[in-house]
Symmetry: C2
Subunit: 413 residues, 2 copies
Amino acid sequence: MSKSISPLAPKSYPTLPAIEGVRIATAEAGIRYKNRTDVLYVAFAKDTAVAGVFTRSKCPSAPVDWCRKNLGKGGARALVVNSGNANAFTGKKGSDAVKLTADFAAKAASCRASQVFIASTGVIGEPLDAMKFKGVLESCEKKAKPLAWVDAAKAIMTTDTFPKVATRTAMIGGVPVTINGIAKGAGMIAPDMATMLSFIFTDAPIAAPVLQALLKKGADKSFNCVTVDSDTSTSDTLLFFATGAAGKRGAPAITLPSDRRLKEFRQELEALLSDLAQQVARDGEGARKFVTVKITGASGAISAKRIAMSVANSPLVKTAVAGEDANWGRVVMAVGKAGEPAERDKLAIWFGDIRVAVKGARDPAYDESATTAYMRGQEITIRVDLGLGRGEATVWTCDLTKEYVEINGDYRS
Amino acid sequence: MSKSISPLAPKSYPTLPAIEGVRIATAEAGIRYKNRTDVLYVAFAKDTAVAGVFTRSKCPSAPVDWCRKNLGKGGARALVVNSGNANAFTGKKGSDAVKLTADFAAKAASCRASQVFIASTGVIGEPLDAMKFKGVLESCEKKAKPLAWVDAAKAIMTTDTFPKVATRTAMIGGVPVTINGIAKGAGMIAPDMATMLSFIFTDAPIAAPVLQALLKKGADKSFNCVTVDSDTSTSDTLLFFATGAAGKRGAPAITLPSDRRLKEFRQELEALLSDLAQQVARDGEGARKFVTVKITGASGAISAKRIAMSVANSPLVKTAVAGEDANWGRVVMAVGKAGEPAERDKLAIWFGDIRVAVKGARDPAYDESATTAYMRGQEITIRVDLGLGRGEATVWTCDLTKEYVEINGDYRS
């Protein structure tokens, strides 16, 4: 599906350590792609807690419905993810396919179907033939091993050009625990959601309600701050699994979100989520530049976020960045159209450290050549100060290039 | 600025008749472009009534501020429009430039500055040198003539590839009156506004408050139903001038919006506004296909409009149309992300007359080859029935092509 690797891809991948209680396998089920893996199977030890946040689409996929229904029941024993088909808008066939997939996985993992979590990504509206998983998941269960993290991230790619992985460690009660995460993104990436697909794993002994609280807050600061094209997927799924295996090494069981021993874990989790979210923007379809939009001085945090998203989603701002054009007039336009409090004569705008506009007009010291030189870089920061209050927000996006149009004009055909 | 004429351009232009009390001239003031007209001057007879609707941007241009301030004062005696520079986000320099322009025009037209209406379109943030209008407007006043409508439409173009004109006639109290209109569009075209720039002229004797009511309602059904790229301009201006000259031929003076003699006039005005609005979508930057999005069965009219705009603004829907791909899954996505009431299992989707999805899944009779053949056409209608209520909306847009990215990556440089 992908052509060449995004120039914004990380230069190297971190090595993800094993997480006790997590085993991974991938396979070729032939859902849609040829000669590549398209199924990820993850087996969890007993008593693995699970949390999840999902797309706010009013037309969610069948797997999203399934995961929502099974959160808060009996924890997780298996995760099955396929690429190539989103199993979205597939009606009863879609929910039947999810059920069948869960049954296959439950048999493989010797657990209940409700302990199987499922996600699908790819084309919308095509029936998913879950019979293709028959035998595949059992063979995955047999070969699953602790260290196949990059393979896992590769199996869930669609138009992604690089696998997205991240790892962090944190101390809980003096005991080190690990957090690993994988994600996929590329297109149909927009706010008000989890992300396209991301899965986070830890050996920390954290109860499901605490996990859910941590995940919700972390998603708001990370994946919900990313946009590639303003299009919110039907399938966005962010799942967080905690095996609790670090308890055997003395890590204390955490049962309250307010537990102070979570401080470092929360910080590291949020750093990991931001890392993955930014990787998604760095691999936005056709992306050539990574763009950070920072809003300060807004009337409030929600207002700041809306203005940031208005700038980050503006096709005219994004094409200007692609064209290496320091067109701050389009930033003004995007601030103005957000519908949030803004006073033209209090606005200031920076590209990187260069202030281009102040008090409602071009900065008297504006230097077009310095700005143009800055725009040639691969990492562009656009900052707007509204001069009204203390509301701040940061969101991440990428430029809008001809390749985006090419990729999406040809995706199905 | 433009490369080749949009394939969606009208095959021929209507001939616009004179409107008594309206005289037109264009000129080259050298604001930005070379070897083309960039100033439109329109002179109005005494007692010409004026109405206007403007961008809802929080950062409107200096000319928009000026027009808002002078509506409802002493009518209109002149209109000055320039292309090449939007005079937006130009601070005090911007309002000074507008005042100077109005002074030049007032001297030329022998009227008060507050009777001069002004609009500007082009780059944002560059100071506009109004001294370039010195002498130009007086010479325009001398040469202004009744029939230069296409010249008028040409002088206000930026990335437009064809001039946009329309004409209608209506009877008021048994007397025929004329409505002429011109518009410009291309990029930074989105809902919640008037349009980029459009000017409507009539000889009907209609009082300003009635004119305003007619215009507001007409804009909501026409220009506010068009989107090219979801980016709302700082400069959107729709002005409506009524010279009242038809009164001399016996047309009754209309002073109340509820006057029944307005029935045909209202119909023809709305038809003219829709005609111009659709021309704007047909000349969207890089447009190769004209797209009509029809929503039926929504929970209400506002909900229907929001869903229609969500579909029409979706980059993934628009690139699919550009790629001639009947990717109705992306339509589902766009319905789902709108945040409006929608039930997956009640949705039905048509491309043209071909129903592709029904009851939350692919239509059992779905014929990909027929749909693909339909997508090769130049006029694409996407219809979604939500099966919930009686809310309906129709909006117009165009496809998203590589040319859009090209035009907007190169616009300033």
